[in-house]
């Protein structure tokens, strides 16, 4: 096969100079067949997928280097040079607006010795300069300054050494995603049927959403998938894990209606999921937000099924690691930091059309419930860390985990598009891990060229 015709060849150009004798030996990137670790049909998981270092490294290559990943919100960029630094898996990236007001993303690593060329978390700049030797890049990623340039050979072409750019950056209703795969399908295709559920949070009116406050970040022990699968699928934990918080919010007396919620869980074949109670009078929890919302207008725009379902209470995950909670405007990423650790980054988004006092009410409700000090968030973090802490014992690690709730319950319910399951079900988690397994067993775009040679 002619390598230049293959996506892999294009991919190679992302990070390699034109001429090189470098060839990374395959032993450094050993691949594990994970089909024996996920029994999605039987609802069982091998615990190694939360703890194993080889599997973790394979996730970096075959999931985080191939999939659309959430980067930032469009409201974070208003002028050329506005930037936000984040991660795609463990790869550091700069998201910025170039001089033509296009949102672009670059690997945050100098092409010379690899230092980050942007150390700040957020800000505005005209260029990105490495603090080590001073190589500097413009907003278009071009290498524009090389101190002592005359020391390089005549074959050195500064045009070959621009920042490595993320080839695909696109947005959906204010959410910016990036994808390293030069041959990736579109963001819209990747989101698939999930957009109907996402729109219940992002598309209340034509003005869309904005970010209030900064990005909250916290580190906790726990594999990144624990956070992702829970938001995709797990309503089951709510009454137990959050029992005290729900009792407090109900005025100090347990309410039967909280425990006996009924609802649905969207199960997307691409690994996304969204669980939500269904009730004719679903409402936003923060009183000021509830009073401001025009539910009749929302019914006209989004339809009864969405207003009575995914509009408010509930949570979802866009595969692999972007999650959201419509009721409090939380959008977040669980960044992987080794098999045993994650770093959660959370934004609070509100409708742009909200007046200031409503935005503030939602921001405070968000902080008090699902910020790092929120009364719900702490319950979840405690459980994830508890799971992870003991997972390396041999006998413990050999014990299979149960994901059988709602087995066989997946169906078309006639009201919510796509396949749904019960509110209390592991269906979206089973689908999440089935998709994870398929990606982990598929050679990625950057491996194909090597395989052809």
């Amino acid at each position: 096969m002619t390598s230049t015709m293959h996506p892999g060849a294009e991919g190679q150009a992302l990070t390699s100079p034109p001429r090189t004798a470098l060839r990374r030996p395959a032993e450094l990137e050993r691949t594990v067949d994970v089909s024996g670790l996920v029994d999605a049909e039987g609802g069982l998981l091998d615990r190694a997928l939360f703890t194993d270092e080889l599997i973790y490294r394979q996730e970096q290559r075959r999931i985080f280097a191939t999939h659309w990943l959430f980067l930032a919100h469009t409201d974070q960029f208003h002028k050329p040079g506005d930037f936000f630094t984040t991660y795609m898996g463990e790869d550091p990236v700069i998201v910025t607006m170039d001089k033509n007001r296009k949102i672009r993303a670059y690997l945050n690593s100098c092409r010379h010795r690899g230092v980050r060329v942007c150390r700040a978390e957020v800000g505005a700049t005209r260029s990105f300069t490495c603090t080590y030797h001073g190589w500097a890049y413009d907003l278009e990623g071009k290498l524009i300054s090389i101190p002592n340039k005359e020391g390089y050979p005549d074959t050195f072409q500064s045009g070959d050494w621009g920042l490595v750019e993320v080839p695909n950056v696109d947005s959906y209703h204010g959410l910016i995603f990036g994808n390293w795969d030069p041959g990736a399908s579109s963001l819209r295709d990747s989101l698939g049927g999930m957009t109907w559920y996402l729109d219940a949070m992002l598309d209340h009116d034509p003005e869309g959403t904005i970010v209030v406050g900064g990005v909250e970040k916290w580190v906790l022990e726990g594999n990144w998938k624990l956070a992702a699968e829970q938001a995709a699928s797990d309503w089951y934990h709510v009454n137990m894990s959050h029992g005290s918080a729900l009792t407090v919010l109900a005025g100090g007396k347990p309410k039967a209606e909280v425990v006996h919620r009924t609802g649905r869980q969207y199960v997307d074949p691409r690994g996304h999921g969204h669980g939500f109670p269904v009730h004719p009078r679903n409402r936003f929890d923060a009183q000021t937000v509830h009073e401001w919302m025009d539910y009749a207008a929302l019914r006209l725009r989004l339809g009864d099924a969405r207003v009575e379902g995914p509009l408010t209470t509930g949570h979802g995950t866009v595969f692999p690691n972007f999650s959201y909670l419509p009721v409090n405007g939380s959008i977040r990423v669980a960044h992987p930091k080794g098999p045993d650790r994650m770093e959660v980054w959370a934004w609070c988004i509100v409708d742009k059309s909200m007046p200031e006092h409503v935005r503030e009410a939602q921001r405070l409700y968000n902080l008090r419930t699902f910020g790092p000090s929120g009364i719900f968030e702490q319950d979840d973090g405690e459980n994830w860390s508890e799971v992870q802490t003991i997972s390396h014992g041999f006998i413990t690690n050999s014990m299979h985990l149960n994901y059988q709730m709602g087995l066989g319950s997946e169906r078309e319910d006639g009201r919510h598009p796509g396949i749904t399951s019960e509110l209390y079900s592991d269906a979206a988690a089973r689908s999440f891990y089935a998709h994870w397994r398929d990606l982990m067993n598929t050679p990625a775009w950057h491996e194909r060229k090597t395989a052809d040679e």
């Binding site: 005209r126 260029s127 300069t129 001073g134 500097a136 300054s145 101190p147």
Partner: protein, 117 residues
């Protein structure tokens, strides 16, 4: 160095309102008659200054720099230069930037290429 003798009137190069506080603009050498383009730099107190535009260290444009408190910081390698004298405050640049006198009359900026402020 300077191609033209001192001029009593100066060259009208911009209106003060054309330059935001803390920002700079470039005046082409075809207008100034100097060896290099000239950076018109407006400090955060509103005052206007002029230096040769090219950073004496490398190829950066000082008009793109960060201007505050009487100094412009090179946008690429962070050496700072005095807006009035062009004096450099530290590495990696080692040479001063060349200053030019400016006068503001009726909201218009007049440049005196080659004259020291």
């Amino acid at each position: 160095m300077n191609a033209k003798p001192p001029m009593s009137e100066g060259i009208r190069v911009a209106a003060v309102a054309d330059i935001a506080e803390g920002e700079g603009i470039v005046i082409a050498r075809s207008i100034t008659g100097t060896d290099d383009d000239v950076a018109l730099l407006r400090d955060d107190d509103g005052s206007v200054w002029a230096l040769d535009n090219t950073c004496p260290h490398a190829e950066a444009s000082l008009a793109e720099g960060w201007i505050e408190g009487g100094q412009v910081e090179c946008p690429l390698h962070s050496s700072k230069f005095c807006l009035k004298t062009g004096a450099v405050d530290g590495l990696p640049a080692t040479q001063d930037a060349r200053p030019h006198r400016v006068e503001v009359r009726d909201g218009q900026v007049f440049l005196y290429p080659g004259e020291r402020p």
